[in-house]
Symmetry: C2
Subunit: 380 residues, 2 copies
């Protein structure tokens, strides 16, 4: 990590030295070179150059209350505020500073993630649990942002598609496909960025722990054409149409992928997984369209009991499936209870499945963990 | 624009309402819904909720000094600081706030660009000059992030590749290729993000103003594997090797693209353009390897006079070329003078060319303008 931070510092200096880009206020704000965050000997030190601030706090999602927790930083010489904490367990965390009540990103950390409309710095703590969240060493798949037409939603839309290392050079090989769905507030960039889906799949495949697979990450907001466009209205026809996105996923996206990529175009070559809202899409897609996906992984969502639920689940049983894997955090009360409901129904109906209960609640920390876990079980 | 801002506000509220994502400090920081930036009737209003700040400034690159300019904002009721300015001419600008001396991004604006290690908010002013910088209405090309092996540099590396709308569905059509190079401090994400290359090409092609073309945007830092990786060292073999990246571009990247994509694999099917450092790569690649690229567009760089310069330029003349287009801002003193040197040599040698002189200096505003201008001239 020290080498990485040195690299970042060197990169920052080279930006200062280069006249190849617009420099705006960077130099003026920074003063002397400062490193933040510095991960070393089980500690993490955060630093911010803020000589005129009266109070600076650190807020991070590893704190006891990940939404509102904060700790005061101490002003040192040269106006640099500093706080050293014990490193949390290996993972990727998010944090920001609060300067006189205003949320501020760490200008010395170029690792930033967008979660919906919010930008937060990322803190990488290396270790066994997080080792697959870094770029793999050798074999890198391809990430493609591609538009497709959705006649049922009345708009063209963007999706992210991961193809594994070797896809382009093995023109006769066919690949299974994982449809990987984001949650509320997310979009087609959520799994590639916050979810580290590319890094996780690259690592698992390079290590021989997962089958080479295509991963399709569509935009689950039925009226939205793509993340962060301007001037392209959210004017799809989905408004008020029950399961509009789920229908489009099964009837439009799956055939599009089977046409455009070298897929194993049958249920045993298809997995579906999604978190929260995307978990709802996962259960709806499989309950309403049994026999399309053989691997079913609803994450952090559970299920609502309806009169048709058992009959629909029996439809899945009858069509046949290879894996039913439910992931949920034990502190994610609503989703946990809903997952128990799903677990009980599957048990009652004699349907083999896994209920994987992790620590924590409704957080990306869990969704990365789940992907890193269930991806090893797919297509085997 | 009002609708867009309403959409952003609605999206922000829906993030607040959703429990599908980690909320961190967003709700706590925001208080009542506030819109920023608001573009309306020729004015732009910026707002920041910062009740405990003693001074809040706005800094934007449309100001007289784009690097250090700032204007004080006024504190209003509810602790919301505000400043209304005359809208600058249609373009994409960057800005941030300065809260008690600390640079802060606008938390209400989800349009953010990364320039090297810095994140700045984007301000879109619509108008004729900037209309191609928004997503096109109908036909969207595909953007792919792809790794390739560079034996000469000793590492595998990532590039961005744009394929135009229709590429996937016209399997017999071959396309010309524009190699589009970034400047110092940039990487393979610079042209797709700050340069709006995807939007510009989509719009020009959709309107019939440019030929459908592939655009290859490699990483021009010869020792860097890819933008923003962690744990992947910058350990290429380029250190100290003259033109290491340029050699790799011509000898490795061009053959890779010709092998992997349906290209018009000859000089008349190849253009090369680059800004600043990438302009140096453009002149070096064409001087050292005449006859590979028929369309040559060095931007904001000029040339250094050497003893071999005329002989090398005559090599290009002898090999034949279709376009030599030099773009530079009249306030970009060093690059302007260097461009005049190139202009004079080309004139002296009887080599047809264009010297396109714009306003302003060494800024993305110019590089978007140049791409939006010279792309119409390619492959015709």
């Amino acid at each position: 990590m020290k080498r990485i931070l040195t690299m970042i510092a060197v990169a920052a200096l080279s930006v200062l030295a280069a006249n190849g880009q617009e420099l705006a206020n960077f130099a003026r704000q920074q003063g002397t070179p400062v490193v933040s965050p510095e991960v070393k000997d089980g500690k993490v030190t955060f630093r911010l150059n803020a000589n005129y601030a009266t109070r600076v706090q650190l807020s991070g999602n590893w704190m006891a209350n990940p939404w509102t927790g904060s700790e005061d930083m101490q002003k040192g010489p040269n106006g640099i505020w500093e706080l050293t904490i014990d490193a949390p367990e290996p993972e990727i965390y998010t944090y920001n500073f609060i300067v006189d009540g205003v949320a501020v990103n760490d200008p010395l950390n170029n690792q930033v993630q967008r979660d919906g409309n919010r930008y937060l710095n990322m803190l990488f703590i290396p270790g066994e649990r997080s080792e697959n969240y870094y770029e793999s060493q050798k074999q890198h798949g391809t990430l493609t942002y591609r538009w497709y037409d959705s006649p049922s939603l009345g708009i063209s839309r963007r999706m992210a598609v991961y193809t594994p290392y070797g896809y382009e050079n093995n023109p006769k090989q066919k690949y299974p496909v994982l449809y990987l769905l984001h949650g509320g507030g997310g979009d087609e960039e959520a799994w590639p960025s916050m979810g580290r889906a590319v890094q996780i799949l690259d690592n698992l495949i390079e290590k021989g722990l997962a089958k080479p697979m295509i991963v399709v990450m569509p935009n689950g907001n039925a009226n939205q054409r793509a993340a962060q466009t301007l001037k392209l209205p959210n004017d799809g026809k989905a408004q008020g149409v029950q399961n509009a996105y789920v229908n489009s996923l099964v009837k439009e996206i799956v055939p599009f992928i089977d046409k455009e990529y070298r897929t194993i175009a049958k249920a045993d070559g298809r997995a579906i997984a999604g978190l929260s809202m995307g978990g709802g899409h996962t259960t709806a897609a499989t309950l309403n369209y049994p026999g399309v996906f053989s691997y079913i992984c609803p994450l952090s969502c559970g299920i609502r009991e309806t009169e048709e639920l058992d009959n629909q689940l029996l439809g899945i049983k009858k069509a046949g499936y290879k894996l039913y894997w439910i992931g949920v955090g034990k502190e994610d009360t609503g989703a946990y209870n809903g997952s128990k409901v799903l677990d009980e129904h599957l048990t009652k109906l004699g349907m083999p499945h896994t209920l994987y209960v992790s620590e924590d609640a409704h957080v990306w920390k869990n969704w990365r963990l789940y992907l890193n876990t269930f991806a090893r079980l797919l297509f085997k």
